[in-house]
């Protein structure tokens, strides 16, 4: 028979004012299997815990129930006390007599009776508790960072500086991301490349960082501390160990009219190319889709030009496997193109640009070397219209959220335009100005007051071309809905920030959740903004939601700290509240029939297939097995299991049925 100790807390008067605690202890003391039952003023105090420890030893208790506050408050306290007395901590349970009883009921007979019932329930549960051991899993102290924009760069550097190895994977031929495309940054107007490129070089030279550019994640298996990542190294067609980055091949390449991704389509590049002059690594790749040799089998001019023989025509994609303990997702965002807007010309007007294209125009490294010129005729625009919230905050466009950065960069664009074209006239159409952030509001005021940007509150209904001008038809809602028509030379749309292409597939590869807009979902919107629901995978930057550079950097450092904290342990210790599939003696082995309903239920991919084999190696049956590193203990599989073969430790069927039976069996 069980020997259970029951300890009823008065919680000062919090419980004893409405519950007759002595009666609870007395009645529970008479229950079958209860060896010891007392009440005390403060069970969580030192003397209170000492009562428990002494009773465990004196009576040889094999279970403890503490009737006190919510287990969410003091369960760890009392479990620790039990463990110190030599009792397995998972043989200790708490009955919630305060939050669920004394605080919500008046002093009465019924309240005391409910308290007795609650304690009884847990006594019956504890009788079925089994000693459990915390789960320990080893940790591989190497991190994988996916995405080499400012988020990935910051996270990589921060992790690497804690002394841990980092693998940084970037899809493009160079790291740098969107930040490398920006001209100046708000609210200080310092040049983006000036602050970014030193970081890029630091990444390339850091002894703890292994950089794979032109590479993508193929698959990720495993669980926190123990991931196995397959990375596809796309064929660069250039041998980086011999290439000196002299650039002669680029100058001689005859295919010169490919729209440059780096210049957001405004400039051109060659087929063998380095995306931009400050690229890291500063060595070219061959774009096989556009290269004459890969298209037609002839050309090879670059090979003839290359003095070190670095061109590798037959190079194939290579897949490598890396073992890592944590993953940081920093895949960033994308912006909608002008073709998304029928009302603004479906992308057919050359002088209607996205904000990102305007960044390239304004950038000293851009196609016009920083001069604001119309893509159509190269003229300097004298009248320019900026349209904020192009797509954002528009449920009809499927983008009901605010893209957050546009208000600020539109103010910056207008400012930069005024600084560069002194006699120019700029107008910003906006819905609201959202300038929350340090020095942000001041920055917008500066654009309006010092740089005389004309801010018009209202939407633009249509933009169309007429006699070489762009006619912008909008409304000024602050002037009683008066219609505004502007003959502009250039229109810049602050197009919505959206999830990067392929983010949905990546999320599915990693088993992290994503929101309806395909941004990755954080584990908790407030308290776990950098974690995902998959343990060991963290988020940094705009892959979670649109955000600006300071926020991105802060988040990346946050993710890095999470990784560093994880790596500070040699082993991870987890609560053993996980599912287990039963194992029985031969010839049954398990009641699991291998239907794998549990597999469909599991949000964490924790169900593995196991072949149960006889001594001669013959297959007896397929059965499910739970990977305890991945299982988070939700128990959804338990409710799904047809044969009741899977159960969750700490909330087993036996335990919960015992609770239900105790409540009603009198």
């Amino acid at each position: 028979m069980s020997k259970i100790g029951v300890f009823i807390c008065h919680c000062g008067e919090n419980i004893s004012a409405t519950v007759d605690v002595e009666r609870v202890a007395r009645e529970i003391g008479g229950m079958e299997g209860v060896a010891h039952a007392i009440d005390y003023k403060y069970m969580c105090s030192d003397p209170g815990q000492t009562f428990i420890k002494e009773a465990v030893k004196k009576y040889g208790l094999d279970g403890v129930v503490v009737g006190a506050c919510s287990p969410r408050m003091h369960e760890p306290t009392f479990r620790r006390a039990c463990a110190e007395a030599g009792l397995n901590p998972y043989l200790c349970e708490m009955a919630n007599l305060r939050e669920h009883c004394s605080w919500v009921h008046e002093k009465s007979e019924e309240t005391t009776e409910k308290a007795i019932d609650l304690v009884k329930m847990l006594v019956e549960k504890v009788k079925k508790n089994k000693p459990l051991d915390s789960i320990k899993v080893p940790v591989t102290k190497k991190a994988l960072v996916i995405g080499g924009g400012i988020a990935g760069i910051q996270a990589s550097l921060d992790i690497a500086n804690t002394g841990h190895k980092v693998i940084l994977v970037e899809r493009d031929p160079s790291i740098g991301g969107h930040m490398s495309q920006l001209s100046e940054t708000f609210p200080t107007l310092d040049c983006s490349q000036c602050i970014l490129t030193p970081r890029m070089v630091e990444v390339a030279q850091h002894p703890n960082i292994k950089l794979y550019t032109y590479a993508e994640l193929e698959s990720l298996e495993g669980f926190i501390g123990n991931f196995k990542a397959k990375i596809r190294l796309k064929a660069k067609s250039v041998n980086y160990s011999t290439c000196t980055g002299c650039g002669a091949c680029i100058q001689k390449c005859p295919v010169k009219k490919i729209p440059s991704e780096f210049n957001a389509g405004l400039g051109t590049r060659t087929a063998i190319y380095v995306p931009f002059p400050q690229a890291v690594p500063n060595k070219p790749v061959i774009d096989r889709v556009n290269c004459n040799y890969y298209k037609r089998g002839a050309c090879k001019i670059c090979e003839k030009t290359c003095q070190v023989g670095s061109i590798e025509w037959d190079k194939e994609d290579e897949i490598i496997t890396e073992e890592v303990g944590a993953v940081v997702l920093a895949t960033g965002f994308d912006v909608k193109g002008t073709d998304f807007f029928p009302e603004y010309g479906y992308g057919q007007y050359k002088d209607v640009l996205t904000g990102l294209q305007f960044e390239r125009l304004a950038s000293a490294s851009g196609p016009t070397f920083g001069e604001i010129r119309r893509p159509s005729d190269g003229a300097v625009p004298k009248k320019i219209v900026f349209i904020a919230c192009a797509g954002s905050r528009d449920p009809a466009k499927g983008i009901p959220y605010c893209s957050k950065i546009c208000c600020m960069y539109t103010a910056k664009h207008a400012m930069l335009y005024q600084h560069k074209v002194h006699d120019g006239e700029s107008t910003v159409f906006y819905m609201d100005i959202r300038a929350g952030g340090k020095n942000y509001e001041e920055f917008v005021r500066r654009a309006i007051e010092e740089d005389t940007v004309n801010y018009v509150r209202g939407r633009v209904a249509r933009v169309y071309e007429k006699n070489g001008k762009l006619i912008v038809k909008g409304v000024d809602t602050l002037l009683g809905g008066e219609q505004v028509e502007i003959e502009a030379d250039m229109v810049v749309l602050a197009t919505a920030g959206v999830a990067n292409c392929g983010s949905e597939q990546l999320a599915q590869k990693l088993h992290v959740s994503y929101d309806p807009y395909h941004f990755f979902a954080e584990a908790h919107p407030k308290l776990k903004p950098v974690e995902t629901n998959t343990a060991g995978i963290y988020l940094a930057g705009a892959c979670q939601a649109p955000k600006d550079i300071p926020e991105t950097v802060g988040m990346a450092s946050g993710a890095a700290v999470k990784v560093a904290a994880l790596f500070s342990n040699d082993e991870l210790v987890r609560e053993p509240v996980v599912a287990v599939v039963n194992r029985l003696a031969p010839p049954l082995y398990s009641t699991c029939v291998g239907c794998f309903m549990c597999e469909t239920a599991c949000p964490y991919n924790a169900i593995e297939h196991e072949e149960i084999k006889g001594r001669d190696g013959s297959l007896i049956r397929n059965s499910a097995r739970v990977n305890q590193g991945l299982c988070q203990g939700c128990g959804t599989c338990v409710a799904f299991c047809r044969s009741k073969s899977i159960d969750i430790q700490g909330y087993t069927n036996e335990q919960v049925y015992a609770e239900v039976m105790s409540l009603l069996n009198d």
Partner: protein, 154 residues
């Protein structure tokens, strides 16, 4: 519906640890009062709740059952509450077809911030069940099945 004042219904609540259990804790810390009839059984997630437990509860004399977890999209485990909801939709119609009084099952979502919603849920359920009276029919059937050996316990 006339209320039966002598009858104190026995109600059992199956709630998830992360939302409703925490919500009920908040009811306590906010000192909101509610009826004593409901006793909570804690689960990690509503996805864990085997709906046979509901039938077992009725067989054992429960007059009503509350199932409550996180709101859709709030699940600590991403999708456990969706599984529970889907199972409940299917289970509900089966029970209805079988003649079980589904008015006695209250399925709800109470978040960790909804302390007052929990108090209201309990009070309303108690009032509803009190009006319905004791659930003797199911117990009779269960007793009969047990006697006839249809419901053998291990």
């Amino acid at each position: 519906m006339s209320s039966n004042t002598d009858f104190e219904p026995k109600i059992i609540a199956f709630v998830c640890n992360w939302c409703t259990y925490a919500g009920a804790d908040l009811t306590g810390t906010s000192r909101l009062k509610y009826a004593t009839n409901v006793k909570i059984v804690r689960f990690p997630c509503t996805g864990r709740i085997d709906f046979l437990l509901l039938l077992k509860s009725f067989a054992q004399g429960a007059d009503g059952v509350i199932v409550s977890g996180c709101h859709p999209n709030d699940c600590h485990y991403t999708s456990g509450n969706f599984h529970a909801r889907r199972r409940w939709i299917a289970f509900r119609s089966v029970l209805d077809l079988m003649g079980v009084d589904i008015r006695r099952i209250q399925y709800s979502w109470v978040s960790a911030a909804e302390g007052s919603k929990w108090a209201d849920l309990v009070n309303n359920t108690v009032a509803d069940i009190r009006a319905l009276g004791p659930y003797a029919e199911y117990q009779k059937v269960a007793d009969y099945l047990e006697k006839e050996g249809y419901n053998e316990e291990a």
